[in-house]
């Protein structure tokens, strides 16, 4: 028996901000969940199961927040589970929820991911004072900057590329009412003149620290038929992992990322992603990861990703827009960031992306990664149901 087709019928996000001091964690997730329910015109009673995700517990210091959030998410009496895959968790959470529909375990599933970064310090949570270990010497960006330098050396990319990505994403965010950063008056010069933090990463090329949540309602074919607005259909979804550190690891283009993309394309019968995919929402925490992922995901040959960025292909009006929402560079509630990518891809093919809508988007890729390039999660959504 073939899998049940999976449809995204409801999407809700909070307005991501530096700090949401007006709400508890429960209040934050509730906001996104209610918006997704409203979008789908469903009620709590219509939901069969709840699948949530967030980054490690140390980020807010709430041990197993899923226990306490069950009330807020209408999960009492229903199956509820939590997914843990570091920064990619928003994506893998959505995929676990989608599998519950595809396997016909449930017909309507609420999936949600969140982070309230203002309640603690992610950098602290990731660099505990483990005895005998050398302390991390570089801070958050210091982990990523050497890999970016390796990319530049390997490809010969001019050092101007990163600023182009940041300038694009921050302008795109101005069209997205949910984005955290709305930098009116942003110019390329401002990005290029922002302080150099971890050379080659400048301040304006880094992601912010955000509070936010994102929710989706996934449904089966019958649910999609009843939905008041167009559905986004899941054509492919995959997760891959690899060790954080091993001899031979390619941090510039990790094998797990390539394999994950290949699995998604195979399911979705995509042979030429550059031509067949209309828009991409990818997890770009630091500007240079756009060209790096363009290669890793097969949109450009090795060493050629930066040329797509440089020539404007990834701009809102380019022929492969990347992160029309403004991306992680414009909002980063860590646990939610991957799900926001997945949700924004779905919004595009539903034609519901508002001012950052890409005209005629029919196929979109949502991408998430995390844990020092340890975990990858991706899905490809389309405006039409998959053909069986």
């Amino acid at each position: 028996m073939a899998e049940e087709p999976v449809a995204v019928v409801g999407i809700g996000q909070t307005r991501h901000r530096a700090a949401r001091r007006d709400v508890s964690l429960a209040g934050l997730v509730r906001e996104a969940a209610l918006r997704a329910l409203a979008d789908a015109e469903l009620t709590w009673a219509d939901i069969d199961a709840v699948v949530i995700g967030k980054a490690p517990d140390f980020f807010e210091g709430v041990m197993m927040p899923e226990l306490y959030l069950a009330d807020a998410l209408g999960a009492v009496g229903k199956p509820m589970l939590r997914v843990h895959t570091a920064g990619s968790v928003g994506g893998s959470t959505a995929l676990v929820a989608a599998d519950l529909i595809a396997a016909r375990v449930h017909t309507t599933v609420l999936t949600l991911a969140f982070e309230k970064q203002s309640e603690s310090n992610a950098m602290w949570g990731l660099s505990l004072p483990v005895p005998f270990q050398q302390p991390l010497l570089a801070g958050a960006g210091g982990f990523f900057a050497p890999h970016i330098r390796a990319y530049m050396r390997r490809t010969g990319a001019p050092d101007t590329i990163g600023a182009l990505v940041a300038y694009k994403d921050r302008r795109n965010a101005l069209r997205n009412p949910y984005a955290h950063l709305h930098e009116h008056g942003i110019t390329l010069a401002k990005v290029q003149e922002s302080p150099m933090l971890w050379d080659p990463i400048r301040y304006s090329e880094t992601c912010p620290s955000s509070d936010g949540a994102c929710a989706m309602i996934l449904a089966d074919r019958a649910g999609a038929a009843r939905a008041p607005r167009p559905a986004a259909w899941v054509h492919g979804g995959a997760m891959r992992s690899e060790p954080t550190l091993f001899a031979g690891k390619d941090f510039v283009s990790p094998r797990a990322g390539k394999d994950c993309a290949a699995a998604v394309y195979r399911q979705a019968r995509i042979t030429d992603p550059r031509r067949e995919i209309d828009v991409v929402e990818m997890y770009v925490p630091f500007s240079w990861y756009e060209p790096m992922w363009l290669e890793n995901l097969g949109f450009a040959a090795e060493g050629e990703g930066w040329k797509l960025t440089e020539s404007g292909v990834t701009e809102l009006d380019g022929d492969l827009p990347v992160n029309p929402s403004g991306g992680v560079l414009s909002a980063n509630p860590i646990g939610a960031s991957g799900m926001i990518r997945f949700a924004e891809a779905a919004l595009q093919v539903r034609g519901q992306a508002g001012e950052h809508q890409i005209d005629g988007a029919r196929r979109a890729l949502g991408h998430a990664y995390g844990g020092g390039s340890q975990f990858f999660a991706m899905w490809l959504v389309g405006s039409e149901p998959p053909t069986t």
């Binding site: 001091r21 429960a26 309640e119 004072p129 483990v130 302390p135 060790p243 001899a247």
Partner: protein, 338 residues
């Protein structure tokens, strides 16, 4: 073979919590010696209050004041209190259903011994002398000699027919006073310090590595399958999944494979900025270590730079690496180690 090393690992952080409207009213109420619950659509009063109905998922915002007296519904004796617990002397953990409430609150009961505690015991709040808007504003509960539940037997205008949950107490008709939850200077957030104490051991492989470091030697382990040399060793190869045992001394010199220039001061790091944070492939190792580069202006560090360790008396690890004076390594030699 030397014993594996051990050391305490303390994970400690002052987490903050934004309370939202219901918890804000509850904790501010405690500061004012007022215990607030929240009323559900079916008329029950939940203490401590929650923001969303556990049954219907409805938003709950209607607050009600309950008494500071109540009844123990169950308990467990704690003979050896630990740091951070409500009382320093042995006490009972109790669930207390406050008069007017339908659910029980977890707290501590000050009692001389387990023989003095029973389910059904009448108790009252002992308020903390200094109250800040925290659950510890209730210092603990203490046995209470006064009247039985003053709400017992009163009709509850909100009570209506419903199916009791499993394990639920017999529905008791009672009332509790409505409360708007408004106080001057409300508490909107709290700091929740968390502390976890671990007894940490890095294991045999890393202990061998650390013992060698004490002699200023860097010793990795070679995978018997893929032949890669891991530094620091982990006792197993993450790619092949087999144990590693063959000790291989690497370095002391190495090659900078990539790096960044750090321009912002990291917390708790006493290093003047800017400085160079580099990945260094020690000669003979198959993956890079991370270390600081010194002894050269930061803007002259480059990929391929050959370096050697600089040890200090105070540090387990090389303090930093400095140029060795050799010619730069060719990119082809180290590109696989990037």
């Amino acid at each position: 073979m030397p014993q594996p090393l051990r050391a305490p690992l303390v994970v400690e952080f002052p987490f903050t919590r934004s309370l939202g409207p219901v918890q804000s009213a509850f904790l501010t109420g405690l500061r004012e010696r007022t215990v607030l619950g929240v009323r559900t659509a079916d008329g029950r009063i939940l203490v401590p209050p929650v923001e969303y109905d556990p049954v219907t998922a409805d938003e709950l915002r209607e607050l009600a004041e309950v008494a500071a007296t109540g009844t123990v519904t169950t308990w467990a004796w704690n003979p050896a209190p630990r740091r951070g617990q409500p009382l320093a002397t042995p006490f009972a953990w109790v669930l207390v259903r406050l008069d007017g409430a339908d659910t029980a609150l977890l707290h501590a009961l000050d009692a001389p011994g387990p023989g003095a505690v029973r389910t059904g015991l009448r108790v009252t709040v002992r308020w903390a002398a200094e109250r800040t808007g925290s659950i510890t504003d209730i210092a603990c509960f203490e046995p209470y000699e006064g009247e039985s539940d003053p709400y017992e037997g009163e009709p509850d205008p909100y009570e209506r027919e419903r199916v009791p949950y499993e394990h639920e107490h017999e529905p008791r008709p009672r009332t509790a006073g409505g409360h708007d939850g408004r106080f001057d200077d409300p508490v909107t957030g709290i700091v929740a310090p968390a502390r976890l104490d671990y007894d940490y051991s890095p294991g045999r492989a890393q202990s061998r590595y650390l013992h060698a470091l004490a002699e200023r030697r860097t010793v990795g382990e070679r995978c018997p399958s893929c032949r890669k040399v891991y530094v620091p060793p982990r006792g197993a190869c993450p790619t092949c999944g087999v144990a590693t045992a063959e000790q291989i001394e690497v370095g002391p010199r190495g090659t900078v494979t990539t790096y960044c220039v750090v321009n912002i001061k990291a917390k708790n790091l006493d290093i003047a900025v800017p400085y160079v944070y580099a990945h260094i492939a020690l000669d003979g190792a198959d993956l890079a270590l991370h270390a600081r580069i010194g002894g050269i202006p930061y803007d002259q560090v480059r990929m391929g730079l050959r370096v050697e360790p600089v040890w200090t008396a105070s540090s387990r690890y090389p303090d930093h690496y400095r140029p060795s004076g050799e010619p730069d390594a060719d990119y082809e030699v180290y590109k696989e180690l990037l």
